[in-house]
Symmetry: C2
Subunit: 335 residues, 2 copies
């Protein structure tokens, strides 16, 4: 893989910062690095691999001569800048929801549908974090037993709503413990010592956007328009890493031992399933890990060929930045 | 209803304390009140309705002349003392799991199966908190459309593991925020800024005791041995009140509008379901309320006749002490 001219768009956000951490950890071959953000962050200094970089304002002219743009600056900015990135000849790996459901644009989890990467026309979409965390451990089961239905209930960290929401959780917890009145600013409700239905917009069908993403993106990534998915998304007072209670129904019968064996050798997954010690996936332990933790594996006797499990994954890492960098690694592998 | 000679067994625990609060709030007709606990709490003073009572050690001789014993002192103590309570001629309303699945002993949620109260032979069992919070809002739907399957994922407060776990959450949160090392003592894992699979014992089928209670108790309370129930129980860093993401499948089709109308007039339930304001049940708001909050009501298109919803309820109140006192009120109504 040749050294690339890379830009990180939205570098000052939680995912933008994680892009830099992952590029460094994975020794991603970088020839030049450009840090892009909105005008109000321009001029900010950020260190990377021992060098100091200055954040530049992202404009339509920012992308000339680049090979790769890792973007996570919000859907509107992605939509506005994408034509310029593509015209400049760079590959845009986009972490926003802007292009995920565009039939012309691949939506990729490298452990699941890496073959879709080659179909890109300049843009590859990175799935929603809750979708990635759900599908990485489910795909090995799907390949063998074909999943017909997924029911998911999520336990989503504050940081899914950005670095400011993560800060708000800590400030609220501190205030709550000393009896101070709490006035939510970033998230719509008190998050400290509380849980609430995910803060994305509710559609006319009663599902919030986060849930609808899980439903639609699963069909696209699995190339399975017939798969039935339902979800209830909930914010919990966790700083980082999302968890999900998953219930699945498969076409073919598969035993828990088979599932455990499949997951033990599956890429991107770590089985944490010690019944005697009551030790299962926890967001605190998933934080900072590349793997999605999976456990509580058991037969669900309430339906035919049904299984239940619990997963935790770092939604900023595998749920966002890591997945995008993995896509780029495959896209440029033989170049 | 005549004035009763009442004892609260396990009065120093979280539920024991709530028994007193609810007896007082509901102006329960009390002639004499006896506060019972283990030997190490004997001698402790507790105020009730302007009088000071002294906690006595519970012994087989404690129950002579009593009409009612509200008990929540642990399954082993309930088992040991129940024969003496029954022999003394008192009614034992027991909040432990000791007798719940005994076919001779009624298991009652007053909004659902009050008719079972009259069948008692000295003991009535109070269901598990997560079961009560799940079934109070589901029963009105079950009556009309017959529920075939329930899939539940819980978000359970620390206080479900007792007053000490609630204290531990606050201590851990304080320590975490100042960077102190956290060593769990009451709960098996860090609860502050974390979630983990419910801390009850995992059975050979992979389900924990809390989940199995929800499965078995539902069949008994609904008098529906055929109903299929599955659950994943999870602790969240909330002080009080449990929440649950519920997915149900019914025999007959029922619209969301019908469900909303049914729940609006159902006893023990409050609909909190404002899609525009993204305002739904939250444990912070369920705390201290008698009603179970229910919202996120929507058709689940992933199965036939399926619905999804989210509920929050105070598990010490309706999930325990209030439900037991309501049982006693019915048991002694015409006496």
């Amino acid at each position: 893989m040749k050294k690339l001219k890379v830009a990180v768009l939205g570098v000052t956000g939680a995912v933008g910062q994680e892009f830099l951490a992952i590029l460094e950890q994975r020794k991603f071959p970088i020839e030049t690095l450009k840090l892009l953000a909105s005008g109000r962050s321009a001029g900010k200094k950020i260190g990377f691999m021992g060098k100091t970089y200055t954040v530049e304002e992202a404009t339509p002219e920012s992308f000339q001569g680049l090979d790769l743009v890792l973007s996570s600056a919000g859907g509107a900015i992605s939509r506005a800048l994408a034509p310029h990135i593509v015209k400049a000849g760079a590959l845009m790996v986009d972490n926003t929801s802007a292009f995920r459901m565009d039939p012309e644009i691949p939506l990729v989890i490298p452990e699941i549908n890496p073959e879709d990467i080659a179909k890109h026309k300049g843009i590859i979409a990175n799935p929603n974090c809750s979708t990635i965390i759900m599908l990485v451990p489910l795909f090995p089961i799907h390949k063998v037993a074909k999943i017909k239905r997924i029911t998911a209930a999520t336990y989503q960290a504050a940081s899914g709503a950005g670095a400011k929401a993560m800060e708000e959780l800590q400030v609220q917890a501190r205030d709550f413990l000393v009896g101070k009145k709490i006035i939510p600013k970033v998230l719509p409700h008190q998050i400290a010592f509380n849980v609430f239905s995910h803060n994305s917009k509710i559609g006319p069908d009663g599902f919030c956007e986060e849930e609808t993403k899980m439903v639609k993106e699963t069909k696209k990534i699995f190339h399975a328009p017939e798969i039935r998915v339902t979800a209830t998304c909930v914010r919990v007072p966790v700083l980082r890493a999302h968890s999900e209670a998953l219930f699945i129904e498969t076409e073919k019968n598969i035993s828990v031992d088979e599932v455990r064996a499949l997951l033990a050798k599956a890429p991107g997954v770590k089985v944490v399933d010690d019944r005697d010690k009551n030790y299962f996936p926890m967001p605190l332990e998933a934080t900072g890990q590349d793997d999605i933790l999976v456990g509580r594996l058991r037969v669900d006797p309430s339906a035919a060929n049904a299984l239940a499990m619990f997963v935790s994954g770092d939604q900023i890492r595998k749920g966002a930045a890591l997945n995008a960098v993995q896509i780029a690694e495959i896209a440029f592998k033989n170049k």
